[in-house]
């Protein structure tokens, strides 16, 4: 029984401090609520902040979604169990060349998957044809690839959506779905004149959204004479029994005295191709985003400072009747964060509606030809946009909040 009074006292103390916390929270709630309710009175300036932040987030997300889409397209082109063999020193198919003999030696290397028709390896010829782009009407470089029938086994994602495959030995081509969409005159049944030969489009293929869909395919043996390539090839694309056999294959090929070749894992090869362009787009996105953010933060600061100064009397009155500096400060911060987040959400939503799935074609400098890709506004990008907005709100609200908290009550009231 002796401990009871002290226990009671302790409980009281806890209650009191809890009460303090509650009343502090209640203060924060009250002031913040009052604040947010009054935003309407400062609509013009608040709207300017919202629009500014929305614009920044929209552009930021939009530009980065372009980079993500480009990267995704190229990365989905290469599989882990895919391998690309080029001439030694070459890093792209454009600057590579292999003789028929060399492609045969490569096809016999260990670790390559086999199917009913033999080794899953395709010796390919990479060429470029000029085709008008729909959006501009001017000729652009479209990749044209001569392949072996095994190419379809190397890239399992290839799927004919219209027509049929080209027949070996005939002047027939199949065209990727994005190529049909981005470039003129490649529809099923079209006749095309490239390299002294008339080609007929006999099929349209999809390839799981990869860069292959931007290409035109024909039989390598028909392409070689038409493009005067003799019996030479650009590359060998092959598929491994498993991704683990890559090292063994690479060692076998690079130590073979009859060959001087570069061996790439397909996944890495295409990831690297996307790097330059992705880095450039990302750089533009971050630079532009950062610069605009500076402008938007100035806008937010302006808005919040004038909000604080127009509420001088109100804040001073609140302080005079017992509201603490903390709740006043937090209320200003919350208002700024709320405005920025509203802008951020609007900006991200607009970016999603405008850009997600938007397709564009650009030059892949590594092989000097067009690659079409779809913008990808991912959840990560949307989150990044929202966080970016909150950071702008925080910076834009912090200093005005500080000023509000330090407002000298007596002077402010005297101005009444």
């Amino acid at each position: 029984m002796a401990g009871a009074p002290s226990q009671n006292r302790q409980r009281t103390r806890i209650w009191l401090s809890m009460g303090g916390l509650f009343s502090w929270l209640a203060q924060v709630g009250a002031v913040t609520w009052l604040n947010l309710k009054n935003v309407r009175q400062r609509l013009g300036a608040s709207l300017a902040t919202v629009v500014g932040v929305a614009g920044v987030v929209m552009v930021f997300v939009g530009v980065l979604s372009m980079a993500v889409g480009f990267q995704r397209t190229l990365e989905s082109t290469g599989r882990d169990d895919g391998v690309i063999v080029l001439r030694g020193g070459a890093t792209g198919e454009m600057s590579s060349g292999l003789t028929l003999e060399e492609t045969r030696i490569i096809g016999d290397a260990p670790g390559i998957l086999s199917n009913a028709e033999g080794r899953v390896a395709s010796a390919e010829v990479f060429a470029i044809v000029g085709v008008p782009k729909r959006s501009t009407g001017t000729d652009v470089n479209v990749p044209m690839r001569g392949v072996d029938q095994q190419a379809f086994a190397v890239r399992e994602s290839i799927e004919l959506v219209e027509g049929r495959r080209f027949e070996p030995g005939r002047n027939e081509v199949i065209v990727g779905t994005t190529a049909v969409r981005e470039f003129e005159g490649l529809e099923l049944g079209s006749k095309l004149n490239w390299g002294e030969v008339e080609w007929t489009v006999v099929g349209i293929f999809a390839a799981g959204g990869s860069a292959d869909e931007s290409e035109i395919w024909a039989d390598a043996k028909v392409l070689q004479p038409a493009f005067r390539r003799g019996t030479s090839f650009s590359s060998v694309h092959l598929r491994l029994e498993s991704p683990q056999s890559f090292t063994a294959l690479k060692d076998a090929l690079t130590t073979d005295p009859r060959l001087t070749v570069n061996v790439f894992q397909a996944s890495e090869f295409y990831a690297e191709q996307s790097q330059t362009m992705t880095a450039l787009i990302r750089g533009v996105g971050y630079l532009v985003g950062a610069l605009m953010a500076v402008g938007a933060v100035f806008g937010a600061l302006n808005t919040m400072y004038s909000a604080v100064s127009s509420r001088t009397r109100e804040i001073a009155t609140l302080r005079a009747i017992g509201f603490g500096a903390g709740p006043v400060m937090i209320s200003v911060l919350v208002e700024s964060l709320a405005l920025a987040l509203t802008g951020g959400v609007i900006g991200a939503a607009v970016a999603y509606m405008l850009f997600n799935g938007f397709t564009a074609a650009t030059m892949n400098f590594q092989n000097f030809s067009q690659v079409a890709f779809a913008f990808a506004v991912t959840p990560q990008l949307l989150t990044q946009g929202a966080i970016f907005a909150l950071v702008m709100g925080l910076v834009g609200g912090f200093f005005p909040a500080f000023r509000a908290a330090r407002l000298p009550v007596a002077t402010a009231l005297r101005r009444l």
């Binding site: 501009t136 030479s232 564009a360």
Partner: protein, 395 residues
């Protein structure tokens, strides 16, 4: 002039707001400058293409080779003053990422066809005299710190020396002046030197039957005497080679440059579109703040009027204030953008140098003035119409 003090007092009344406004304007114009530079980078060459220059490439695509003997016919076409040819070398310096826009050319024809390129005559002569020499664009030389007389090793993935080496040594004979063209990011070597390329190269790069030995080139440039006859000359060349193993496609340099820019196309357009939207959004926000600051002072303007300031004088005061804000923010923004863009390279081949063309700089300056006018004119007009009684009452 005596009103300057008044304007200064008005601007420094709310220092913080004034500086924020100035800074947002600064950032907007910095962005404008960078954007213009980027766009120029993507669309390089379109602006500077000579009207009297045509070029001929293989009809199927620009990577196919043309027989060098085609030059003979083209040179003889009436109205053609000079011809030269370019062949893509695919060179890079030290690191693969330092890719060069490098062509092998017929130097004598080159200096005739590209006669506006700024190469001092003695450098030109030393280039013509030395088979292993190159002339390099001003910005390339600056980027790698190259000077005339230097001997530089350049690697290529496409052409190999007879011994199989991918490394070629070059003497720098001349530097192509920066000029206004911005077309100074390229390197030109002698085609005769390229002929040294070993036999292995021929298997890869030399399509059989196109020429004798190493007789193939990427493109042929020609200078014509009368731009109005371009269409006829194009027709004459292309119809002559029609139905031959290597059909040709001839176009004006401008159309070609535009077509090449379109290859990068969409990307540049999209970036341009969204960034310009934001440029104007930011200006709108800044403009709103400027207009607001004048509105807040309605009562004061009334006082000035009471003191005998004429309507016009008050309007001028308000306009001047807006102008000063725009100029103090905008011009440094443009200047910094110009400074930055003239000193960085993107590290992407084909977009070697970004810069702001003088014309676009002036557009920027005009936009600065327009901003001052637009943000000042509405409050100034309100100030003009202000009746003293109302103005004083609003305080």
């Amino acid at each position: 002039m005596k009103y300057l003090h008044l304007i200064r007092c008005n601007l420094t009344r709310k220092k913080l707001r004034t500086s924020f406004t100035v800074l947002s304007i600064f950032v907007s114009f910095l962005l404008f400058g960078l954007l213009v530079a980027l766009r120029t980078g993507f669309g390089q060459g379109v602006e500077v293409a000579g009207l009297n220059r045509l070029l001929t490439v293989h009809k199927v695509s620009m990577i196919q080779f043309l027989p060098i003997k085609y030059l003979g016919f083209i040179e003889a076409v009436e109205g053609v003053e000079a011809v030269t040819h370019w062949t893509w070398f695919g060179g890079y310096y030290q690191d693969r990422r330092n890719q060069l826009i490098m062509f092998a050319t017929d130097a004598q024809g080159f200096v005739e066809v590209f006669d506006e390129y700024e190469i001092p005559i003695e450098q030109q002569q030393s280039w013509l005299a030395n088979r292993t020499s190159i002339v390099v664009g001003h910005s390339v030389a600056k980027r790698f710190g190259w000077e005339i007389g230097d001997r530089v090793p350049i690697n290529t993935q496409m052409w190999f020396q007879a011994d199989g080496s991918p490394t070629w040594e070059f003497d720098i004979a001349g530097i192509i002046g920066a000029g206004e063209s911005g077309n100074d990011g390229q390197v030109y070597m002698h085609y005769d030197y390229l002929k040294q390329a070993g036999p292995f190269t021929e298997i890869v790069q030399q399509p059989e039957g196109v020429g004798d030995e190493l007789g193939a080139v990427s493109m042929i440039y020609l200078k014509i005497d009368d731009p109005d006859r371009a269409a006829e000359i194009v027709e004459e060349i292309d119809s002559h080679f029609a139905n031959s193993p290597a059909e040709t496609k001839t176009s004006t340099e401008k159309a070609w440059a535009q077509g090449f820019a379109n290859q990068v196309g969409d990307l540049a357009t999209i970036v341009t579109a969204i960034v310009s939207v934001v440029f104007f959004t930011l200006l709108l926000v800044a403009g709103n703040t400027m207009a607001q600051s004048v509105r807040e002072r309605t009562a004061e303007l009334g006082v000035l009027k009471t003191l005998g300031f004429s309507d016009r004088k008050i309007m001028a005061l308000v306009l001047a204030e807006a102008f000063i804000l725009a100029v103090v923010g905008g011009l440094p923004g443009l200047a910094v953008a110009d400074f930055v863009t003239s000193r960085i390279t993107l590290g992407v081949a084909f977009i070697p140098q970004i810069y702001i063309p003088t014309r676009e700089l002036w557009i920027g300056v005009a936009l600065v003035a327009l901003l001052g006018l637009v943000t000042g004119v509405l409050p100034a007009w309100q100030a003009l119409r202000l009746r003293i009684v109302n103005a004083l009452a609003s305080g």
